[in-house]
Amino acid sequence: MDPNTKITSLRMEHITKRFPGVLASDDISLSVGEGEVLALVGENGAGKTTLMNILMGLYQPDEGKMFINEKEVHFHSPNDAFAAGLGMVHQQYMLVPNMTVTENIALGYKKAWKGWKLDMKMVRDRIEEVSQTYGLAVDPDAFVWQLSVGEQQRVELVKTLCLGARFLILDEPTSALTPQETDELIVLLRKMTANLSIIFISHKLQEVSDLSDKVTILRHGAVVFNGNTKEHSSAEIASLMTGREIIMPENKETECSNIHALEIQHVNARSDRGYLALNDLNLTIHSGEIVGLAGVSGNGQRELAEVINGLRPVESGTITFFGKDITNKSTEEIIKEGMGYIPEERNTEGIVPPFSLKENFILKDSTAKRFTNGIFQNRASIAQNATTLKKDFDIRCPNTDTAAGTLSGGNIQKVILAREITRKPKFLVAVYPIRGLDLGAAQFIHEQLLAKRKEGLGILLISEELDEILALSDRVAVIFKGHIQQVLPRADADSRKLGMLMAGV
């Protein structure tokens, strides 16, 4: 296709795609016109990313057709999609960290591939051209690992434009941005609609109404709604997304005890790459209190959760747990002291995927008296424990011998939650507990957390979703570059204020 033709219309008709045991796309049709912005909305697992991957040629549809400028198109690989003028910015950036911006773009800029020579000058010129046209400044010689998340996103945008995109697909573009960066991005995208049309995937209803002209709602792989954004309220869209009125639980309490459950004082710790991830970090959490930790991901949240649980060495400072010093103690000892932990990556850190549910429930208690019979394991009590937990936490799977790794995300999280909570911990560190879960599972988990809080459990809630933090926390702490900027009581916290703190202001 001529690189200068605008894309005036894009249509997907009756697209169907099946994966083993899952109907990912069920007879989906949508259309986007010239200069329009379409929001593709739905819960996690609704099929939004799959649909866009089909559009980009990464997957082939089992049924259905696609049309660009009224001509039918078939994409067998991303190269075909690029040639047709499509470009996608994925949720997790597709940039090679130890290469420069120019090299990353050269990777796709096939015109500069001249046999044995790579024409880097041609790539640089093209980057310059695009930067000027769209007002997107990037440093061509910077290594990607040196750039901030916002800067990397800009590189991704420049990349797709360099490769000739006249139609942009953005997957959760604001998930890693502060509120201010989000506003900037929305302004930028609106300007770009003069030259391009855009589809963006989101589950954040505010930006859907700020940015889009049309909205398509997916549920369980099928379209449940197609319409103009202006004509519908956020509440309407939310209920169409889930199919029912979901009211996420909220923390309305004001009291909590005075007991210092966890005291973190002047802690310094290094990241895997060797730089200081936690920088003179101070935080105190009481029993029966939920402290939400807000911050742009990558500011030390992971390292904080790890030092509390003995998974990362503390260089200096102390961590005290109910008066006892647990700094740099082993994970085993800390667990014995009563620490509970819902880790960030449920599949690789929370469960042993090939092990059955039964075996996963006793991960931290394999030597406990109630599960052993002398030197052998007590099969009966382990099985009983699993059956009870499966029932109480409504975990959906054939039976307790099923491998935990085959469960859906929500059910895996329930397994982890069940295990942690029923061990009667004295404190819980919950990291991104509802990430990637559908609203039903999320609601369940939040209800459990609030219930335990009432029973006196102190919780450190680490999350990227400001909504979640504002709904559940008694106090909100903001982390920036490994340091706690400020701790606000819930009444004083709003997303504007938090946004500024998260950006280091």
Binding site: G21, S330, T331, E359, K364
Partner: protein, 362 residues
């Protein structure tokens, strides 16, 4: 998808795997102009002809079982032990040293002592890559292979110098070997006319032990968790590094025990070439046996068959004994590829849909 289809599908995959193995082996056989099916027949069936030959198969089954058990323990704990050759050699040296040092102790004490020495020798040699991985994150793949070569040289040195048979020194024939070791360590050969010895009971005993350890105790649970998902185990409070080293102690110790059993049961002296490939064959046996004692014992028998049959092919069909190594390599490649195919649910769905479409069309 019906259960019947699932079973049929898996059987077909396994059959294809067997065919692929035979085909790849056939490539080499055809290249040297040997009769393919006859060669395979010799390998599999000739060793079963009489009690004498079967006992020779069983004799090889013993060290293969013991080594494979050790490798399975290590593999399930997350560490791949390619160093069984070297660990076996070290076990032999330890056994020989003790037997040479205190030959007059009564059998009831000396035999268990030398077996323990063999275990200790192998365990210590196995601890090296274990510690290297636990403390310094050195890949065990490379360190165990290097230690094999180092042990091989050390073994030759010991047999050439400090442990050299005094008889060799006087006759000057220079074969590196130790002198005949005291009868007090000989394992009884309980079937007259054959070399089959009581080591077979040691092998079976340890198989049962490993089964109980890995699947019935919390200790084994932790090892398996550490091997299945190192991160989740760590996050669950399991000291992965500790279990890594323990796994290698087990693995090396078993290889050392296999060496000790070979000395006490078969050769009665330390000579060159005892380990000759048992360490690597043990890996194939472990994989073939599904890393489980119940599978390892028959797998070890099968590979014993392969080893004995492989020795006979030169005379029978003019195929050099190296062919066994070819087959072992092919079997490893086929096993790991087949495991991936069997665990691919997506593929099974696609095949299921294709068969259903054929039925609908018919």
């Amino acid at each position: 998808m019906t259960n019947q289809f699932k079973i049929l599908y898996k059987i077909c995959i396994v059959l294809l795997a067997v065919l692929a193995t035979m085909a790849m082996g056939a490539v080499i056989l055809i290249a040297i102009g040997a009769p393919v099916m006859k060669t395979y027949a010799v390998i599999i069936f000739q060793p079963l002809q009489n009690i004498g030959l079967i006992s020779e198969v069983l004799i090889r089954t013993i060290p293969l079982t013991i080594i494979a058990l050790g490798i399975a323990v290590a593999y399930r704990s997350g560490i791949i032990n390619i160093g069984a050759e070297g660990q076996m050699a070290m076990g032999i040296l330890a056994t020989t040293a003790v037997a040479l040092a205190v030959p007059t102790l009564p059998k009831v004490i000396l035999l268990p002592l030398v077996l323990l020495a063999g275990i200790a020798g192998g365990a210590l040699w196995g601890a090296i890559p274990g510690l290297l991985k636990a403390k310094l994150q050195v890949s065990e793949l490379l360190s165990t292979v290097m230690l094999n070569y180092i042990a091989e040289q050390f073994y030759t040195f010991c047999l050439r110098k400090p442990m050299l048979d005094p008889a060799e020194m006087t006759t000057g024939s220079g074969t590196p070997q130790s002198m005949r070791l005291t009868k007090n360590i000989w394992l009884t050969r309980f079937i007259p006319g054959t070399r089959l010895h009581t080591g077979i009971f040691i092998a079976i005993g340890f198989a049962i032990l490993i089964y109980l350890l890995l699947w019935k105790t919390p200790f084994g649970y932790k090892m398996r968790a550490a091997g299945s998902s190192e991160r989740a185990a760590r996050y669950g409070g399991i000291n992965v590094a500790k279990y890594l080293v323990i796994a290698m102690l087990f693995s090396g110790g078993f290889a050392g025990l296999a060496g000790a059993v070979e000395i006490c049961g078969v050769h009665h002296r330390a000579i060159q070439g005892i380990t000759s490939g048992y360490g690597f064959s043990g890996i194939v046996v472990a994989l073939f046996g599904g890393l489980h004692p119940a599978g390892i014992i028959p797998a070890a028998f099968f590979f014993g068959l392969l080893l004995v049959g492989g020795n006979m092919t030169q005379n029978a069909v003019g195929v050099p004994a190296n062919m066994v190594q070819v087959l072992q390599g092919v079997i490893i490649l086929v096993i790991v590829a087949t495991q991936m195919v069997l665990s691919n649910a997506y593929l099974m769905e696609r095949v299921w849909k294709k068969t259903r479409r054929k039925e609908v069309a018919a």
